[in-house]
Symmetry: C2
Subunit: 370 residues, 2 copies
């Protein structure tokens, strides 16, 4: 699967894999794709450095990238404590009540919350960038909005491509105007933050809006036939996140969560504000139901909601409280039915892609070399 973008980056397959796990990122690049390490969970620069060192040692010289969450809008001098103070007591009580109803134990005193909102704040994202730019990354992705101009310039100085996620053609145009190099068009069916427009409609709209800038299709892609569909829609490659969560290299840290992912159908996700305050697709659980219930207090806006629920989410995950246990994941979860290695997933993608190309050629009445 070769496109202009895959050739620019020197990769074999135009398959970009977003993952929070260094072992998955390295395996994706080794398999001929392009691994992108999500940095949002790193609060300490040393931890990111340690994991990028690991990737460098295991990526076999193949190119890879890093994904940060950096809002273009600055909020000067706001600390985590300032944000904490904005959370209404009623919402805190709702969290305590919901956890108590399910008997969720407290964390021990020396255990930190695993998921911190601070990764979403600009100063943290900038310290992540300082670390990442010390490594030979080839792509920097920004998960929410356009990155600030100085960050784009800094990336371009180092010959690093800049990508940004878009949920509409208008978002894509804003990113282009901000000087980025690659648009990731994230459809409704995708895991994590998504808009309302499904990939079938969004991908060609984004392609037309920003051409000749390359667009990667994200959302609903977990098989080779879906890769072929995305490329037919004009994408220069695909951006996959969910599919890697059940690979053997992934380290979800919760066998119960892995079991839930393997068992879930495509109808078992929901686009909910429960996790961050912005609509993000995730497994539907009693936790998302509680936040989406009109009778409840409802989710707070970003970044308050993420800060409010960070500790609760850590406790739910640590103690594997099944009815509440979830994770961001797309509708493609319905096809994630066995634990496989990243290489096995790639073999499946490339085989399925070739079969889909055969099928389309047959429909078109072309007797190609297949």
């Amino acid at each position: 699967m070769q496109t202009e973008l895959s050739q620019t980056l020197g990769i074999e397959h135009a398959v970009f894999g977003f993952t929070p796990f260094p072992a998955v990122a390295a395996a994706i690049s080794r398999a001929g794709g392009f691994g992108v390490l999500g940095a949002v969970r790193y609060t300490a620069p040393d931890e990111l450095k340690r994991d990028l060192d690991w990737i460098e040692a295991h990526v076999g010289g193949r190119p890879y990238g890093v994904d940060v969450v950096m809002p273009a809008k600055k909020v000067e001098g706001v600390t985590e404590a300032d944000v904490e103070a904005m959370i209404p007591e009623g919402h805190r009580q709702f969290v305590r009540d919901t956890l108590a109803r399910h008997g969720v134990p407290e964390l021990a005193q020396d255990e930190a919350s695993g998921w911190r909102i601070t990764g979403w704040m600009e100063q943290v994202a900038r310290s992540q960038l300082d670390v990442a730019f010390d490594y030979p990354i080839r792509l920097l992705a920004n998960a929410l909005g356009s990155p600030p101009a100085d960050v784009v310039a800094r990336a371009h100085d180092r010959d690093v491509l800049v990508a940004a996620l878009a949920g509409s053609a208008r978002h894509a145009e804003k990113h282009r105007d901000a000087g980025i190099d690659v648009v990731v068009a994230q459809g409704y069916e995708a895991g994590g933050h998504t808009g309302e427009i499904a990939s079938m409609v969004l991908t060609p709209e984004a392609v037309d809006a920003v051409a000749p800038l390359p667009v990667l299709a994200a959302g609903g892609i977990g098989s080779g036939q879906q890769v072929a569909a995305a490329l037919a829609l004009g994408a220069q490659g695909v951006w996959l996140g969910s599919l890697w969560l059940t690979t053997t290299e992934a380290d979800l840290g919760s066998p119960a969560l892995t079991r839930k992912l393997l068992a879930a159908g495509s109808g078992d996700t929901v686009r909910s504000r429960a996790l961050t305050g912005k609509p993000a697709r995730q497994l539907r659980t009693e936790w998302t139901d509680a936040w989406d219930d009109p009778a409840g207090p409802g989710a707070l806006p970003m970044p308050l909601q993420g800060l409010l629920v960070a500790e609760a989410v850590s406790r739910i995950q640590k103690y594997e409280i099944d009815p509440l246990l979830g994770t961001p994941v797309g509708q493609i979860v319905g096809r994630m039915n066995s634990e496989r290695s990243v290489q096995a997933v790639f073999d499946d993608l490339t085989r399925g892609f070739e079969e889909a190309v055969d099928r389309v050629n047959r429909v078109a009445g072309r007797s190609g070399p297949s």
Copy 2:
């Protein structure tokens, strides 16, 4: 675009077009596709007969079909008056208030409501079938649920294929078990009644669920590249409805509505219960907002909501009350930006399809005959 199903039906392109307009249905079949006339709006058998006569005279001997709405679950002996009596007065008042707020005039005393709920009731659907089976239709589609067993048998006796719309793999399996011949997998992005699963995910799930039964992909398809994507996903053809609404052969009866469709973007639709009581994608208007507003009474279940709003919808359409004026349509409305003939739409679809096949072959490194 040739598939096993298109060959069975003797059509040139595996493009199925659903439309309430006889002129559009005939033009689709003449252009090499397969026109399907939606019968739900016909309450008098004579009117359906008149329009099928017209199609017979104008379809040039090409095959075509009919679409009815026939629930498999029977409600014996329930009349429209019985259903009327179930509607709460508060909901009637909400309709009156909303119309009054926008100054919507009353219909004249001799004007019937154009859109009648009766088309959704089994006795009406059966009288439509009695008419339709007198014509050489090749396909009978059921828009909501599996058709009753006797209807399937009656169709098969006449060598008529039976199709049914599905929003999930489970729906598709139920249809297969009911003996139908073709599954129309209707994705989240489609106009009209839809589920939550987007076409990119739903199409291959439905294909795998009912193979070797053919699946048509519906939802998000309005260009040749989207046709190619659907075929890459394993569909044996595409089922398009929205795209024809702005063709020159369509008779929407409201220039203002046509203007709204031409101007709308892909983000200007909403999946709302406002029209029928079940979630159906349509243009977002102040009318859908009123029904979706948590502060309002909310939509009633099907069939009550359709009966409740039938006259109101007729008045809004007749007097072209712009802020309230809408229609079922999919996210593809963002690409319906000019009035074109059905033939011009077909030319565009086939050209775009060939270009998409070229693109996918290039990505696959195949030097086909293109």
